[in-house]
Point group: D3
Chain length 132, copies 6
C-alpha cells in the first residue's frame, strides 16, 4: 500500500459545551497543523499516488473554509463540539467529496482511503481515517 | 476510525543482556518520549474519543511508575531486557488496564485499541499496538 | 554563556485590528507552543542555570493566565493587537517579574537574560529576548 | 503488533517526465529523510523486533546505493519517474531482500512487514508498506 | 529584541568541486527547508515586526528563483560551490535587497537584521545572519 | 556571521546530588540529542565553514567517550552533577580542543565559536556557547 501526505494548517476560535472540557468551555482557539494522507494500492503510470499539486490546492481550499474563523458562529457546526477529532473528520470528508468530484484528477478516483491528522499542539493530535 | 494521541516522557537507567546489544550491555540510560494513541470507531455525544484530561493524567500516572528509575532494580522487570519495544508494551498494557478499570471515564470503555510509541532518540523509536 | 529552555503551550482566541492583518482581522485563534529560555554566564554549585522544576512551574503559571481565553476580552490587552511577537514579550516580561520576585529561587537572581519564542504553527514563530 | 523504526537520509538529483509534474520536470534534487519500520507480531527472547544495529547498517547500505547520485543516470530507474512514493517502494523492497537473505539476523526472518516513509520536505512525505 | 521567522523550502540539484566534499562532488540534490528570521528592536504600532504576509511572499519569490533547478547551470553561481552555508547567504542577501527596496512594506525599513537557516536534512543545517 | 550545525546523540545513566533535583537524585538516565554549531565570520575558498565530514566524525568521537555509560562512574565527573547544561559545556570544550589540535582541518582554525545544545526531551534542552 502506498500513501502520500501533505501538511498545511488553519487557525480558529471555538468553545466546547460539556463539563468534560473544563476550562476549554471558555471561548479560546487553536492552530491545527493538518496532515492529509491519500492511500492507494498501486501507483499510476506517472508513478504517483495523486497529483500532489492538486492535493495541496484542494487541501488548501478545504482549510480556507475554516481558517481565521470562530467555529461557534459557523452554521455547519451549530450545536456540535468542534473537537480536534471531529474536525479531522470534517476535513477528511470534505477532501473525499472533492476527490469523488474529480478535483484531484482522474487518477485520484483510484484512491483507496484518506486519513487526516490534526495536531493541536506539540503534545496532542487526533486522526480520522476512512475509505474512499 | 478515530484516534487521539497525547505525548509525555520518562527518563530511566537500564542495561541489556545479550551480545546483540553491544555497548548497550553497559549500564546506560534513555529519555523515552511517549505517544499514547487511543482508537475508537465512533465519537461519543461530546464528539470525543476519550476525555483527554483523564488520558493525560493516566498516562502521567503510568509513566511516573517508571520515571527517574534504574529499571535493572525494578522487580517487575527482573531478568527481562527493557528494550524500547518491550517498554512500549508495558505502557500500553498498563494504560489498557486503567481503561478497563474505568479510570479514563465510562466512555473510554468503548475504545477499540491503544498504540504506544516510545521515541528513544531523533533516529529510533518503537511502537506496540493492541486491541482493548 | 549557558542557557536552559523549557517548552509548554497555551490556546487562545483573538482578533487583530488593521488592514495589514487581512483575514486575521476576524475572530480566530491559535495554539502557541512556548519555548522559555533562561540565560546565565556561569552555573551555580549544583551545576544548573535555574531550578528547572520551578522554571516549569512559573512558566505554567504565566501561561495559565492566558490559556483558554479570548484575549480580546482581557483588560490587560485592551486596544492592543495581541500578535505573536507581542505575546512573546508579555510572557518574557511576566517571567522576568517572577524571577526578580525570587519565585525561580535565589540562584535565579544571577540570570542574565530571558528569551521567549512562541510558535504559532509549523511555519511561523516569533521571539522576544531581554536582559534581566 | 510491535514495530521498530530507524531514521536515516539520502540526497539525490532527478527530473520527472509528465505534465503533471510542472516545474519538477526540470533537473532538480531532494533530501529524503527515511524512516524504515520493521513489524513483527512477537518479540524474540532478547525482547527485540530486530537487531537495531544491523537494521541501521542495512538501511545505510541500501541508501548508500542511492546517495549523492543523479537518479536520471541510474540504469535501475531508466524510463521511470523516481517519485517519492516510488523510491519508498525501492527502499522497502531492497530492505526486504536483505531481510530474506539473512542480513538482518536469523531472528529477522520472523518479521511480518516493512514500511518505509520518505520525507521530501517538512510538508510532504510518502510511505510504502508491504508484507515480508 | 524581537524577531519573526517564517519557514518555506526549495529543491535543487548541484555538485561540489574540491576533495573535501567526497561523494558530494557527484551531481546530487537537496531539499532545503528555509527559516527566514527578521529582527527589529521595537514593534510598530500594529505590534508587528514585519507584515508576515509580505514576508512570506517575498521569501517565496526569492526561493522560486532557486527552486526546481540545477544550480550548476545557473550563471549566478558559476564557479562557486553552492554549499548550504553559501546558499543561506544568497537567500539572506536577496531578502535584504527586497527589504531595502520597500517590498516588505515601509515598516520593514526599521528592520535591524535578517538571519536565514537552511536545513539540508534532519541532522545538518547552516545559518547566515547579517545586519540590514 | 555563518554557522553550520550537525546533530548526533548519546545515552547515559546518572544521578544528581542536591534537594533541588527531587526524584532526579535517583539513578536514572537520558538520551541527549546533540546539536553542535560551528561559527565563523567568513567562508573559506570551498565556501564552507568547516569540513562537515570531519565535524561529524569529531562530534561522534566526543560522544563515543560518553555514550552507553553511567556518568556516576566516570572519573572525569567525580563529585560533579552532570546536568544537561554542564554536559553541553563538556561537549563544547572537547570539540574546541579537537578544533585547536587541527582535527577539524586547517580551515577550522579560523572558527570563531562553538555552541552545543543538548536536548534531554521534547520539552527541555540546554545550550553552552563559547569563543574559540
Amino acid at each position: 500500500m502506498f500513501s502520500v501526505t501533505v501538511r498545511d494548517q488553519f487557525m480558529v476560535a471555538h468553545s466546547f459545551r460539556g463539563e468534560v472540557f473544563g476550562p476549554a468551555q471558555r471561548l479560546h482557539g487553536a492552530t491545527f497543523v493538518v496532515d492529509a494522507t491519500f492511500r492507494r494500492a498501486y501507483l499510476d503510470d506517472d508513478q504517483i499516488v495523486v497529483d500532489i499539486g492538486r492535493a495541496r490546492e484542494e487541501l488548501g481550499a478545504v482549510l480556507a473554509e475554516l481558517n481565521y474563523r470562530n467555529l461557534d458562529d459557523e452554521p455547519a457546526f451549530a450545536g456540535v463540539n468542534t473537537t480536534t477529532e471531529y474536525l479531522a473528520k470534517v476535513v477528511a470528508d470534505r477532501l473525499a467529496e472533492r476527490a469523488r468530484a474529480g478535483r484531484l484528477g482522474e487518477a485520484a478516483r483510484a484512491l483507496d482511503g484518506i486519513a487526516v491528522t490534526l495536531h493541536e499542539s506539540h503534545v496532542a493530535w487526533a486522526t480520522y481515517e476512512r475509505a474512499l
